[in-house]
Amino acid sequence: MTDTTLLWTAVYIAMLAAFTGYVVISRVPVILHTPLMSGSNFIHGIVLVGAMIALGLATTPLEQAIGFVAVVLGAANVTGGYVVTERILQMFDRSKKKQEKGGP
């Protein structure tokens, strides 16, 4: 592909992706704003994939060091984002709450 085709492909993708993000969020009730912010925080954890590629292609020690730090940060973003979202959403699970209430 030439650079121009690539550019236009990117613009198409960007437009559709932006629209998707907008539509998905626009119907969200206020009570789910926190979990959703946390959930989207988890989803940009895909940065880990990019960090892995950057580290994988790094050659000099400096590049390797920065790439390594990026992988560490990206991995923390992914797992932390997941666990936080999971914990927040757990509280919305009413069936589980009822079970807990059955206890002493």
């Binding site: 206020v30 954890g45 936080v84």
Partner: protein, 460 residues
């Protein structure tokens, strides 16, 4: 070894599909939990197939990095108390931004064939998001004073720092032959200035505005990830699409939050909200303290009670006691409702999360617009640790809060404000409500006070 790299793109496409499904499920209360599981599974396979990318080395470092980062993220997120969730989102978001900046740095150092303009913009946004989120984290965690930090010439300095960062970035892009010495000089300056700008940009923003800020940096990180993904010689479309979805969703969420406070984004970022005091306004009346027993009597003879919780409830961990009080009042035939201001707490829906944790049913929770007409017919409003969101000063034109939609609790017959002391709210503004004739102040730790209220009400 057989070349399995052909699976990468199909898997990335599936990943994006499941991200969207996951987000969609997360936007309905009943399916929300399965949403994060879908997205999580997709993330796991996307990470695994990335190991198959042709030409990669340093696999051991990669694995160690994932274990260290993943381990830290897991432990930190598991250990933090529910009240600390907002700053955890800020922290992990900052780390994502830092990772994006790191990718740009490696890319710009020259080995990888990249579209350098995109890598530079991605690096700038990622670094700003990293530094800004860390400051937001420090302010919410109490490592830094949450009040806005302002000084003379602040905006001039901020603009200058950003301008020099952009110029340095442009020099990196315009360096066609990639002279190593020029890169070596410009690159550290570029990233340093970007980080400094992130710090400077966040310092003047007060704690009350942190939800908006965290949400905006969330969108920033998404955008940085997308730019980085596209800057690779073989663009990583999983990063591009996921990043842009987060960028768009995060922007919309940010705008909605700012709207809930009736403030423009530029006001949030340049207004240094809460740093200035309204001058020369004498609030008529006085603060009238009240005892637990009197409040218990008030509640016992009420027909309808509305509870307006705020960040103070979260800090005091009072939600469980509030739930007890609610059950007790309902068993006595009192109608109990919760009035949830969209920006109560430190994140939109923060109160909903805490009350849900304590077991309060959703159908008791009401939005500001739903509940506002009901205050006039309410016997008692219990304001638990809320301040700015119930401040009628918002109706007064000269107040810095002017125009912010509030819970009109002052229209109720009686208002009882549970508060730790006589201090001001997060915005640092005096609250007119506390001086009203129908308002009584019940001082003390919210958890303890509500507990004593429960005991007192049981005896009646």
């Amino acid at each position: 070894m057989t070349d399995l790299s052909w699976v990468i793109d199909p898997v990335y496409i599936a990943t994006i599909f499941f991200f969207i499904i996951g987000l969609q499920r997360m936007s309905h209360p009943l399916t929300a939990r399965s949403g994060i599981v879908w997205a999580g599974a997709a993330m796991l396979i996307a990470t695994l197939v990335t190991f198959l990318t042709p030409g990669l080395t340093n696999f051991a470092l990669m694995a160690i990095g994932i274990v260290i980062g993943g381990g830290f993220g897991y432990i930190a997120a598991k250990r933090v108390a529910m009240t600390g969730m907002p700053q955890m989102v800020a922290l992990f978001n900052g780390m994502g931004g830092g990772a994006a900046a790191g990718i740009s740095a490696v890319a710009l150092l020259g080995t990888i064939d990249v579209t350098s303009s995109l890598a530079v913009i991605g690096g700038l946004i990622g670094a700003v998001s990293f530094a800004g989120s860390i400051i937001a984290f420090a302010k919410l965690q109490g490592w830094m004073r949450p009040r806005p930090v302002i000084f003379a010439g602040q905006q001039v300095l901020n603009t200058a720092v950003l301008a020099i960062a952009v110029i340095t970035g442009a020099l990196i892009v315009l360096n066609p032959v990639r002279v190593p010495s020029a890169i070596a000089l410009n690159l550290p300056i570029f990233f340093l200035l970007s980080l400094v700008f992130g710090v400077l940009m966040t310092l003047p923003i007060g704690g009350a505005d942190m939800p908006v800020v965290i949400s905006m940096y969330n969108a920033f990180t998404g955008l940085a990830v997308a730019l980085d993904g596209f800057s690779f010689a073989t663009p990583n479309y999983a990063m591009v699409v996921a990043g842009i979805i987060v960028g768009a969703a995060g922007s919309l969420l940010t705008i909605n939050m700012a709207k809930a406070m009736n403030r423009s984004l530029s006001n949030v970022f340049f207004g240094a909200f809460g740093a200035t005091e309204e001058q020369g306004v004498q609030i008529p009346g006085s603060m009238k303290p009240v005892e637990v027993d009197d409040v218990a009597v008030m509640l016992a003879y009420a027909g309808k009670v509305i509870i307006a919780p705020g960040y103070g409830m979260a800090v005091a961990q009072a939600q469980q006691k509030v739930k007890e009080l609610t059950d007790l009042m309902e068993s006595r035939g009192i109608t109990v409702k919760f009035a949830i201001h969209p920006v109560a707490g430190r994140m939109p829906g923060h109160m909903n999360v805490l009350l849900a944790e304590a077991g309060v049913a959703y159908d008791r929770l009401f939005d500001r617009d739903e509940i506002n007409p009901e205050f006039a017919g309410t016997d008692v409003v219990l304001v638990i640790g809320a301040n700015d969101t119930v401040n009628p000063a918002a109706h007064r034109e000269r107040s810095p809060l002017f125009g912010m939609p509030i819970l009109d609790v002052e229209q109720a017959r009686n208002v009882v404000v549970l508060k730790r002391g006589q201090g001001k709210g997060f915005a640092g503004i005096e609250n007119d409500l506390f001086y009203r004739d129908n308002t009584r102040m019940l001082y003390g730790d919210a958890q303890e006070t509500v507990g004593r209220l429960v005991q007192a009400l049981k005896k009646l």
